[in-house]
Amino acid sequence: MFRPFVFIAALFCLLAAPAFGQQPVPTPAPGQDIQLTIKSGVARRLTVAVPALDAPGTAALQAQVTDPFTATLRSDLEYAGAFVVAEPALYPQGYRDPSTQDAADRWLGTGAEVLVDSRGSVSGDKVSIEGRVWDLKSRKLIFGRRYSGGASYVERIAHTFANDLVKYFTGKPGNFLSTILYVTEHPGSIKEIEAMDFDGRNTRTLTSHKSIAINPSGAAGRIAYTSYVRLYPQIWTMGLDGADKREVPTGVDLNASPSLSPDGREIAFAGSASGNADIYTVGVAGGTAKRLTTSRALEASPAWSPTGRQILYTSDLTGTPQIYVMDAEGTNSRRVTFAGNWNDEGSWSPDGSRIAFACRNEGDFNICVMDFQTGQTVQITSEGSNGHPTWSPDGEKIVYSSRRSGSTQIYTSDANGQNKRQLTKGGNHYQPSWIP
């Protein structure tokens, strides 16, 4: 199913976008008097009207460009958590310029505070879309940008526009062009690494070692993972599209749960010499690994802090696996989790203020979220056996695996457990890792 060319082309389109594709629309700059910024943690959602993309053309164009663009934009904004999309059936026909009182009133009548207008034109296989965002009370244009690209990537253009809207209104990066890496199980204990969009769509296969490839994580445009393709487990890295696979020699055994540092220069991992797993780091090109933990206990599951200054890890030093933190040099280690008899697979929120982890007291594993300063912990799942949580780029969502229906599947939810979505179906999929 994986078509490298198409994917590379999509990537190119994406990479090229900031340089050529996005141009500010020559319209008035945002007024200083408009205060629409939504602060993090404020429960109120902004109601936005998102009329269909206004693009002249045939029915075929409608199906290929207009409908997917509009559906993607509405779905993204609903998913973002900061917006409510006003009921489209209530929208007035026309009136796309709400600078007059009459037009603005018609939109305000739908319950919307903001109008997200979009107009497109298609020439050949290229599409150009202009997004305009109006504050309806003040009747002022507050955001405008032009996007262009191949007509077949109209959904990516919608995602890019949605990311810009999230950034404009919340100050945080949107999730809509982000990727979730995960492991898919095949018959005969074969495990391969796959990737999908943030919403579970556009799945693609990144490894075909026909072996055991597990524990993907990503940073700085690379993915690190463990593969048994050479019989003994080794760390490998690859590009986000699965190309350019490289072995990372470490000089030690086990080579489990590799975690790329935020700058992509180092890999922290669980290594072993004679049956005692410890946390090591090694340069991304491989070499002599540096041992960071020295206890006789078993250590695993390292995860870098967003600044790269600290590493979370799991140790069974006290008899049960618990999460610890240490400086990236292996110094100043201290225990972080105290409740329950098994806490593991820690993951830092993008702003470093919280950690998510797999937690268990009795029975099944759940997902817990802890405020890193206060230690206050909330359990955000309650059914099935759950594991391997990681954070969305904006820190609002968590992806995790759960076996709550006989098979293991990947779910996302808000960081408080609400708005749960199942992203994968059929077979078994696990060890998700959300990367920008």
Binding site: L231, P233, D253, A270, S272, G275, A277, D344, G387
Partner: protein
């Protein structure tokens, strides 16, 4: 065939015992740990069995004339089984490994891969580390009994390559093991 039957009997007895005693952590009773029916009925003291225990009825010339797949199928080597979340060698594991050591010393050219396996409970990363411990515990014991360590390699599969995929203690016990595979002769 003989070995297969013995292995099957052993497996089912382990399963039955395991079911009867339950998981160690869930039922902290005084019942002895689940173990296969080893011939020794000695008291529960940790006396390592003699290195010559359980002589195998095989003819040397025949053994090494087989190809490696056949040698593994013949079951010359017996796996060591573990308790939940443990890498200490149980008495039955020591007995099995002592017999393995005796056989390996008889065929000193044979090379063995010791795979550490775990049951599905717990996280993948932790189980990889635990499987590593189990494989190395088995290796160290074989070396202590005189097996040439350079002929032994270890690998951990954690819970990634289970022998049995049901969620039951009898199945989990099957997956908590050090599995010995002949890789060269």
């Amino acid at each position: 065939m003989q070995r297969k039957l013995t292995a099957l009997t052993l497996v089912s007895l382990v399963a039955a015992l395991a079911l009867a005693t339950g998981c160690k952590k869930k039922t902290p009773t005084t019942t002895p740990e689940a173990r296969p029916p080893v011939t020794s009925k000695a008291p529960e003291t940790a006396v390592p069995p003699p290195a010559t225990a359980a002589p195998r009825k095989d003819v040397e010339s025949e053994v090494l004339s087989k190809d490696i797949a056949e040698m593994n199928k013949a079951g010359y080597l017996t796996d060591a089984f573990f308790d939940y979340d443990q890498s200490d060698l149980r008495e039955d594991a020591r007995t099995a490994l002592a017999a393995d050591a005796a056989w390996l010393k008889k065929y000193p050219t044979v090379q063995v891969l010791i795979e550490g396996h775990c049951d599905e409970r717990g996280t993948a990363a932790y189980n990889l580390a635990l499987g590593d411990r189990r494989a190395n515990a088995a290796k160290e014991y074989l070396v202590s009994l005189g097996v040439d360590g350079s002929k032994l390699r270890t690998v951990s599969y954690g819970k990634e390559r289970p022998f049995c995929t049901e969620s039951s203690e009898s199945c989990w016990q099957q997956n908590r093991r050090a599995h010995l595979v002949i890789t060269a002769k």
